[in-house]
């Protein structure tokens, strides 16, 4: 997904304890470790209340006559970089008689804000794409109605963040450092710490976390890696080392990075970017010109949910099921360059070969992100602009 614009708040910086979750994925090991590490001194614990019991009844479709839902028209709101194949909803419409209309908002932050503004009187029935960095904003404002999809069993537990089932994980992706392999003078960086080394002076471009999802992902990675008290020093070193910061992904990738004629060899992008470089190369190539640094990735998880106040809760629940079905899930990768949440969905061969997933992504708990993102970006701005 695309140059998405994200966040910050002018609130005083709060020191916090946070949980660093090194989640495993792809099923190659079964010990996702959630290590709550109380870092630094906590003056005031800042976490969001979003994961407390909302006391809502989940939508129950077991007793519903599904034929009675035929003829319903559902609206699904999504971020503006939501793309699926033409006719992907045809089989759903044929099977259920429910028509699906897609409405796109702007970036994820705007979409969530619009949902909060219209809570109880939503513009659509279902939302696609609220991510783990905005999840608690949505949950705190009660924009969703819970529903437990039968297909939830196909989803890895690491992706399920709300035990009250208000949202259903539908996809995930890794936000990673990418480098242009030919353009580096020496060996590629092996960790995000390496980027502060003299060797990579003025070769790295990232995005403003206030206005870009990958930019936010990288900031969160550094906070997860260096801790609440350590990331500031790292960023000071990065700034001294000549890091470039652009407002959005496009400006970084096509403006500063080698790909669009810029002169920087390292860029903050997606784990799947090399696949796109391969598929959309001109002239065609056998090997992508770029690689993702797997030890630098922030795990982004996206969810779908039924919007509270919908007139069609049961039909919406059926749509959630469809969104999680292999038919829809297998359509996702080549359209949006993100990974299906349904572990039974087949990945395109290019993804298997050129977009390996990291086994140790950086993640932070959504309630911690919600409570601190504004203070963090505020602090970040001070450091980088200093």
């Amino acid at each position: 997904m695309v140059p998405t614009f994200i966040t910050r708040r002018r609130v005083a910086a709060l020191t916090v304890a946070f949980a660093l979750v090194a989640a495993a994925c792809g099923g190659d090991d079964d010990d996702p470790v959630a290590t709550g590490q109380p870092e630094a001194a906590t003056e005031e614990e800042a976490t969001s209340e979003c994961f407390s019991d909302p006391g809502l009844e989940p939508i129950d479709i077991s007793d519903v006559d599904l034929a009675s839902l035929a003829g319903t028209t559902l609206k699904m709101v999504a971020y503006d970089s939501f793309f699926v194949s033409d006719g992907i909803f045809d089989s759903f419409e044929a099977e259920t008689g429910i028509t699906v209309e897609i409405l796109t908002s702007a970036d994820t932050g705007t979409m969530v804000s619009e949902a909060v503004l219209t809570v109880g009187d939503p513009v659509a029935d279902v939302m696609w794409g609220i991510d783990n960095t905005f999840l608690c904003r949505g949950l705190e404002n009660d924009i969703f109605t819970p529903y437990e999809s039968a297909l939830l069993d196909t989803v890895d537990d690491e992706l399920k963040l709300d035990e009250y089932l208000r949202v259903t994980p539908v996809d995930f992706s890794d936000l990673c450092i990418n480098y242009w392999t030919d353009a580096l003078d020496g060996p590629p960086p092996e960790s995000i710490a390496d980027l502060a080394e003299e060797q990579y002076a003025s070769t790295f471009v990232t995005e403003n976390p206030e206005t870009s999802a990958p930019g936010m992902g990288f900031l969160l990675s550094t906070i997860a890696e260096f801790g609440e008290g350590g990331w500031q020093d790292y960023w000071t070193q990065l700034a001294d080392n000549g890091v470039a910061v652009t407002p959005g992904w496009s400006e970084a990738y096509y403006g500063e990075f080698i790909a669009g004629g810029g002169d920087r060899a390292i860029v903050m992008s997606y784990a799947s970017s090399p696949v796109a470089e391969l598929l959309f190369a001109d002239p065609p190539v056998d090997v992508p010109p770029t690689e993702a640094l797997l030890d630098s990735c922030f795990r982004s998880i996206e969810f779908a949910g039924v919007l509270a106040g919908t007139d069609h809760p049961e039909a919406s629940a059926l749509l959630i099921d469809f969104l999680l079905s292999p038919t829809f899930q297998e359509d996702i990768p080549l359209n949006m360059f993100i990974f299906p949440a349904n572990s039974e969905a087949q990945l395109p061969p290019e993804f298997v070969e050129w977009a390996p997933l990291t086994t140790s992504p950086f993640t932070l708990a959504p309630d911690v992100i919600e409570a601190n993102r504004d203070a963090w970006t505020e602090e970040w701005t001070e450091i980088v602009l200093r």
Binding site: V2, S81, G255, F280, D282, V384
Partner: protein, 547 residues
Amino acid sequence: MTATAERRRPAPNRALTLLVVAVAAFAVVFYLWPVTALLWRGRSWASITDVLGDGTTWRILWFTTWQAIVSTVVTVVFALPIAFAIARRRFRGRALLRAFVTVPFVLPTVVVATAFLTLADRLRLDEDPVRLPGTAWAIVLAHVFFNVAIVTRSVGGYWSQLDGRPEDAARTLGAGPLRTFWSITLPRLRPALLSSGAIVFLFCFTSFGVILILGGLRRVTIETEIWRYATQRTDFETAATLGLIQLAVVLVSLVVNSRIQERLALVERTRATAEVEAENAHRGRGAVVVGAGLALVVIGLPMAVLVEGSLATGDGYGFGFYRALGEQDQRIPLLPVSGWRALWNSLSWATIAAGIATVVGTVAGVAATSPRRGMARLTDIVFLLPLGTSAVIVGFGMLIALDDPPLDFRTRWWIVPIAQAVIGIPFVMRSVSTSLRSIDPRLREAAATLGAAPTKVWREIDLPIASRAMVVGAAFAFAVSIGEFGATAFLARPQRPTVPTAIFRLLGRPGDLAFGQAMALSVILMVITASAVLVIERFRGVVAGEL
């Protein structure tokens, strides 16, 4: 003088009153009510005192106003020679030049910013000692690029109908060309300058993409702050407070502008363009060269970068990216529909929006020159306000204001062209009202004395003069909507992607093909826009019967 002149104009008839009421209802439903709803929703004394008591707010307001004023002044200075070339001289390629200056207007900001950054790199303006990107001057330059067309075309249109004899007299009496321009022409152009200058000011005051992309991290304006608080922080109170500040500044500047406009309304002896051109055939060759040259540098260079990018395929230069736009790879869709389909969508939407804007804008333009002072001023200000209002405020406002029957409009497909028309209306209105004000009332009196009915007077005298202005305005309304100004704040239907959304999608994806096709689509957008403007201008002859 003006007052007496206006008092003698034929009284507005009933049809006009009805039209004005309809237009007023339009303004209320699609602008005033949504904005009020959002400001009311976010109302908070605490927030107001907080924001007003914070020195940062005033710094941001100062920068916002400063960059808007500087951008407007620089735009006007750049635009005048180009306007002269377009207005006063007949030369080969003039219509093309006129269409050409409109083109930047429709380009997505991301595309322009990419072109600017590439250009800065090529011209070595991004390294010491210059370092243009990230400075306030980069913002000003981009604003000039985008807005030069507004001044060029509306001043040019006005200028082309001005009688050249006062200048002749000055020259005969011994004044040099510069002196003549300074003390005779410039004052005569003031109504058009003020009129278009106000629009440029509003555009720069609420500019969003340019500030965000070219201004670097430190530059924020009221507009970008409203966007940040409303969309990224979900803080509607701060956003509404900032929206109020924005509205207050814009209102004050519009009231001042409107007063000056009225005071300056000069009665000009307007004449057929052809006559004026014939007289000017021998004059100001130098200025034409300067004008066309400026246009080429300011507007042409960044465009040339885009053209080059669209042709630079992996193995040399060619039309590969253009061909690819028509191809639809089934398995790996780079675009949901072919680029040509997106183009068709864009054109049809823009036609709808421009149609609405032209009709509503013309009525508003007539109302804005009505002898009823209060109504005239109110119309002018109400329809200019949207240009100075954050798109986020209007868009979010519509979500909470237009949600119940009979106004359940917020998810209707036509809300986007309507929103674009709202931005296009002021162009038509200002352009029409400026030229209507310049009509010598004696013309109308003479016609009335000779027995012409008021409608006939309007058809024979006002309409031919206003038609040029309508066309200038319509061309802008078209450009505004094809460029999708502020439409991101509204809910879109991805099933009908337009060119800007297709470009946005392409630029959001890695790979040479994606980038190259984005450049190719941008170039096509430029060519189509220029052609559309040429076609729209042809209509002028039809409307005015002066082919």
